[in-house]
């Protein structure tokens, strides 16, 4: 067995910006995604802050109606296509999937680099609308026809950007599927794979099979705008509702592209910090596949008021409820994993617990929207805005930051200040709930979304929300500053396993060498979370 000779960790292996931009090392690509993502996230979040400021009072506070409309569209486009869809797979999937499988890289390293570049090109296209043409699109991230065909703003570029970003997503998914099928360590069968890998596997299939449909749909919008032919134009018999079908055939499954990797992260965090095996491994693993599959057939719940046939509304509502069941299974198994553990309360665990709480609120409000009667009332109100921020930000966003705190020492070989991290978490958590919970109230009262101005009776919830956004901002700034400071000044971490984790990334040196392993990885005897037979690793 080969043992460690001179190890060069991946951070120091090569120097210079070019060695990053054209690196085919999955770890470096993961980090490049991280830096790009955080940048776009800050842009998106700043737009969110602006919107909240505008909504502080009825009437004009800051910007004109048209600008407001452009802001929420760009906010949505950035958050969905540039942040949340790539987030966990592109950063942590890239970095850790190969290591967790016990291999040295993904199946197609150069394709992986290409995905990153395609992503950057798409991002530049999306942001270029700020400068070119008549400003960013003002259609909402859904680009509903026929307004998206009529408006003078730069919809064409925004839509093309989404198309390009879709390709990046497809290539990442393709790479992960092949990697998972071909590069698992000997002895690691599918049912001995870490749950994070399972989650990525299910996600990748959605990326692969749903994204092309929105690609072609968006191209049709471009064709309508530039060639003047009307596929969705009612005046020649086109059907705007068909656009909605095609859009949601992708975009509903896409919400599980956002959620499943987060479920994967939580399934890693809980066993590590409870120091025990996960409860119901198979149930969690297979429920990911079930969610991915059922998720394809419920897109119609976004269109309950569009004049669909009663039959369709019936079917879509029923199927929507089906998807709650595999999610419920996950939640119960997670909570059961805490039972009789030996729980070490660290920052990542706090994010995981907040995730479960907030995702439940998001999920339950999803059920309210999935029920026909209530959705008729709540569709396109702030209730929906509350719902999706709870699942996307309170869920996936929190899982993302949890993952960042969890894998941080492995990635950089340093540790952030834990106390500051916990304080930032508390502020973040309070801010989040203050910001988004009032949206359920204003939604129930009947305040429609995408409103530049609103009736005075909605004033109070809006004030609370806006104040919440400031608290949230404070927490986020504190967290990010803490992480940045830790990167340069933090305590050096050299032990392989600072949290006592068990999956293979904790067997490699910290930070990992270019080839990921300095000795053959050792699998625990009974599955990936078998703490009783945890391989002893010495430095």
């Amino acid at each position: 067995m080969a043992t460690a000779t001179a190890q060069v960790n991946y951070l120091e292996a090569k120097k210079g910006i070019m060695s990053w931009l054209f690196s085919v090392d999955h770890k470096r690509i993961g980090l490049m995604y991280l830096y790009a993502l955080i940048t776009f996230f800050l842009v998106g979040v700043t737009l969110g802050l602006l919107m909240r400021y505008e909504l502080l009072n009825p009437g004009k506070d800051l910007v004109e109606a048209k600008t407001y409309n452009q802001i929420f569209t760009l906010h949505g486009v950035i958050m969905i296509f540039l942040f949340i869809i790539p987030s966990i797979p592109a950063v942590f999937g890239n970095f850790f999937l190969p290591i967790m499988l016990g291999t040295d890289d993904v199946s197609f390293p150069r394709l992986n680099l290409l995905s990153w570049w395609v992503y950057i090109i798409g991002a530049i296209m999306a942001l270029s609308t700020l400068v070119f043409g008549d400003g960013p699109a003002d259609t909402g991230w859904t680009f509903y026809a026929p307004y998206s065909v009529k408006t003078g703003t730069n919809v064409t570029m925004s839509v093309l950007a989404a198309f390009v970003l879709g390709f990046s997503s497809i290539l990442t998914g393709l790479n992960f599927i092949v990697t998972i099928h071909r590069l698992r360590a000997p002895g690691m069968s599918f049912t001995k794979m870490p749950l994070f890998a399972w989650a990525l596997y299910a996600t990748s299939w959605i990326q692969l099979l749903a994204t092309p449909i929105i690609g072609i749909t968006l191209l049709m919008i471009v064709a309508e705008r530039t060639l003047g032919v009307g596929l969705f134009d009612p005046s020649i018999g086109g059907d705007p509702i068909l656009y909605q079908h095609l859009f949601w055939i992708y975009s509903h499954p896409a919400v599980y592209i956002m959620a499943l990797p987060a479920f994967g992260v939580i399934s890693e965090l809980l066993p590590t910090f409870s120091h025990r095996t996960i409860f119901g491994y198979k149930a969690i693993a297979y429920s990911s596949l079930a969610i991915a599959f059922v998720g394809y057939f419920i897109w119609g719940h976004h269109m309950f008021t569009s004049g669909m046939s009663g039959t369709a509304r019936f079917i879509f509502s029923m199927l929507t409820f089906l998807v709650a069941i595999p999610t419920a299974i996950k939640v119960f198994n997670w909570v059961a994993t805490l039972y009789k553990g030996s729980i070490d309360v660290q920052t990542p665990l706090l994010y995981a617990l907040a995730f479960i709480f907030q995702f439940m609120i998001g999920g339950f409000t999803g059920l309210i929207l999935g029920a026909l009667a209530t959705d008729i009332h709540l569709h396109d109100t702030y209730f929906v805005v509350g719902h999706f921020h709870y699942v996307m930000f309170g869920g996936t966003g929190f899982a993302f930051f949890g993952a960042l705190h969890y894998w941080y020492p492995k990635i950089w070989g340093r540790m952030y200040n834990k106390l500051v991290a916990n304080i930032a978490f508390v502020i973040f958590f309070i801010g989040f709930n203050t910001l988004y919970f009032p949206m359920f109230i204003s939604g129930l009262m009947g305040m429609p979304r995408r409103y530049y101005d609103y009736l005075p009776e909605f004033h109070i919830p809006n004030i609370i929300s806006t104040v919440g956004s400031w608290i949230l901002a404070l927490g986020l700034i504190l967290m990010i500053v803490n992480l940045i400071v830790g990167r340069f000044r933090g305590r050096k971490v050299t032990e392989r396993d600072p949290w006592g984790g068990i999956t293979l990334e904790w067997q490699t040196p910290t930070p990992p060498p270019v080839q990921n392993f300095d000795r053959l990885p050792e699998l625990p005897k009974n599955g990936p979370y078998d703490y009783e037979h945890k391989p002893q690793i010495k430095d």
């Binding site: 109606a65 409309n69 003002d138 026929p146 307004y147 009529k150 408006t151 003078g152 009612p234 005046s235 086109g238 059907d239 705007p240 509702i241 120091h275 025990r276 119901g280 149930a283 008021t305 004049g307 509304r313 019936f314 509502s317 409820f321 709650a324 069941i325 419920a328 299974i329 119960f332 198994n333 909570v335 805490l338 039972y339 009789k340 553990g341 030996s342 729980i343 309360v345 479960i356 709480f357 339950f364 059920l367 999935g370 029920a371 026909l372 009667a373 209530t374 959705d375 008729i376 009332h377 569709h379 396109d380 009262m445 429609p448 979304r449 530049y452 101005d453 609103y454 009736l455 009783e532």
Partner: protein
């Protein structure tokens, strides 16, 4: 929740309470258990973890119970919704038009209004028509919403249960002034409603051209004071020389009767320089020659 004023409110609110109720039980229960575990099995209190792989009984239980519960939720959702799509016979019919950024209503007797007036306790069917892009006709107090889709006839119906005035909001994003696309529905006791219906539409002594501009929402895009909204201002339009683009070529035209009438009937034939083609839709089937003449007549007064 806001006051409820239609027969649907009960079904909607009931399904809301049921789902919220079940959800709260789970939310509070699960959160409490979670927090309890974190304290009880903290590593200080419980230094050695017990490995439990899982339990088939529990898996079955927590698959079956949520399944049952979601069936209940679905059932109430469906029952609350079902009546919304079956209009009772003999419902009174009104046509509602949505266009950027104004609702208007056409009654069977031909009168056109800016806001809806309906009798108490009578089913009213509203036929929803869009003249340009998607809109959504939303009356929160009635728990009722349905989209207006161009090129497609959609409808909704309701029966008001309380007199009063309730907001109508546009709930589907439709462009710049989406949040200003408001109207209201006034529910009158039957006798007052009959009175309203009998009274002649109040035309006041406004210029008929101005009335038409208001009724057709022209003024949401065209100002009368020279400022630019979505379209060019009407002030000083008549008799001015416009630079327009016709079939991709720029040319100058005099804004005379013929040009303005054409701009209303085929707005995309000559597109004024600096404005978007396609924003304004044709009013050829909405305004007749006489009405267009009234409008032109009025535009002449806007010096």
């Amino acid at each position: 929740m806001r006051n409820s004023a239609s027969t649907f409110a009960q079904g909607v609110d009931l399904s809301l309470y049921i789902i919220v109720g079940i959800s709260l039980v789970f939310l509070i229960g699960i959160t409490a258990v979670m927090i309890y575990f974190v304290f009880r099995y903290n590593k200080k209190r419980n230094p050695v973890a017990t490995n439990i792989e899982g339990s088939n009984l529990l898996e079955v239980l927590w698959t079956a119970i949520p399944t049952l519960l979601v069936v209940v939720m679905f059932y109430y959702g469906w029952m609350g919704f079902k009546p919304m799509r079956s209009v009772p016979d003999g419902a009174m019919e009104v046509k509602a038009y949505g266009q950027m950024w104004k609702f208007s209503f056409e009654y069977p007797d031909g009168r056109i209004t800016d806001s809806l007036v309906v009798p108490l306790g009578k089913p009213v069917k509203v036929n929803l028509v869009s003249r340009d892009v998607l809109h959504s006709f939303y009356i929160p107090a009635f728990r009722m919403k349905e989209d207006m889709v161009p090129g497609k006839n959609n409808f909704m119906w309701f029966e008001a249960t309380k007199t009063g005035r309730y907001d109508i909001l546009c709930a589907e994003y439709c462009g710049q002034l989406h949040s200003y696309m408001l109207s209201s529905v006034t529910v009158l006791p039957e006798s007052e409603y009959a009175q309203w219906l009998a009274s002649a539409p109040n035309l006041a002594d406004e210029h008929p051209g101005l009335t038409l501009l208001k009724q057709n929402a022209c003024l949401t895009c065209h100002s009368q004071d020279g400022s630019k909204i979505i379209g060019p201002s009407f002030r000083g339009l008549y008799g001015k020389t416009e630079i327009v683009e016709t079939d991709g070529k720029e040319r100058e035209v005099l804004a005379d009767d013929e040009y303005i009438a054409r701009s209303i009937r085929e707005p995309n034939a000559d597109v004024v320089k600096g404005y978007m083609k396609g924003m304004m839709v044709s009013y050829a089937n909405v305004l007749n020659d006489e009405q267009i003449a009234h409008i032109i007549d009025y535009l002449k007064t806007l010096k």
